[in-house]
């Protein structure tokens, strides 16, 4: 758990799941592909905790998404980005 699975710059896909507990991934980000902007620290993961499995620490990444891929139509500059912090178990490698 302490060794980050993803590296800065790596393309990752945010999983498209809907666990019926608090999970800190908004609908607009699900299924989106971005790049790891930075590898952050560890934090207690809410999903397993709420299901009664303790509060296991899980790596968090800041993932950078392109605004013009999130919203249609997006009227801002093409270089606009949205950075969102996502737990490691919500990420998948993306080509």
């Amino acid at each position: 758990m302490s060794i980050p699975r993803y590296a800065v710059g790596q393309r990752v896909r945010i999983a498209a799941r809907l666990p019926q507990v608090h999970h800190r991934v908004p609908a607009y980000a699900k299924g989106r592909i971005g790049r790891v902007e930075r590898v952050c620290g560890l934090h207690g993961e809410p999903e397993r905790f709420i299901r009664g499995d303790g509060l296991p620490k899980q790596r968090i990444y800041r993932v950078r998404l392109q605004q013009n891929e999130l919203w249609h139509p997006y009227e801002g500059p093409d270089e606009d980005v949205l950075d969102i912090e996502i737990f490691e178990h919500w990420l998948e490698p993306a080509e």
Binding site: R17, L18, H22, Y28, F49, G52, H72
Partner: protein
């Protein structure tokens, strides 16, 4: 799955067995009067200024379109996750007016922090989870601190810190005091 008026019930299926046993108590607490469900905390009326009123059915549909996802019958792999999950969707202008925090709201804030300090709550995630289980109509009509205190009551009853009966006795005493002073 669904976030209709039975939202609390359908989402309860994901609860731990221990918590599911307490479902009647949770639903009972959720059924306490509409505007100030936990008046044992406060004698003041709640802040009536709620202008956040998104159309959740429309939001759910547009969210699915936007993300190119579908809701499957298992409840996984779909969007959105509930009435709180409305990022990016039309919700009208942002109310930027300043407003005072009422005394009872500070009391709720203090109780939450005390509960964390004393280990009755392990993480804010516990309270967030309860808030996300609110029925959409409650989510839209309850004020910020009303949502927090409702969730706090669920957690504390769940953990046996306070009994549902004790909460109801206290709420009833306050109701009677309010009636007497009206």
């Amino acid at each position: 799955m669904g976030w209709a008026s039975d939202g609390a019930l359908t989402h309860a299926s994901a609860l731990s067995p221990r918590r599911r046993q307490l479902l009647p108590a949770l639903l009972y607490l959720a059924s306490l009067s509409d505007r100030a469900p936990l008046t044992f905390m406060a004698d003041e009326p709640a802040n009536p200024d709620h202008d956040h009123d998104p159309d959740h059915a429309a939001l759910a549909e547009s969210a699915q379109d936007a993300a190119g996802l579908t809701v499957d019958s298992q409840g996984d792999g779909g969007v959105p996750g509930g009435p709180h999950d409305v990022g990016g969707f039309p919700a009208g202008p942002v109310d930027r007016s300043e407003h005072d925090t009422a005394h009872w709201e500070w009391q709720i804030d203090a109780m939450i922090r005390l509960a964390l300090q004393k280990g009755l709550l392990s993480d804010f995630a516990e309270l967030r989870d309860g808030i996300e289980r609110l029925a959409p109509e409650d989510y839209d009509t309850l004020s910020y601190y009303e949502r927090w205190v409702k969730s706090l009551a669920w957690v504390l009853v769940d953990k046996g810190v306070v009994s549902e009966a004790a909460l109801e006795r206290r709420a009833e005493a306050i109701r009677q005091r309010q009636v007497a002073s009206a």
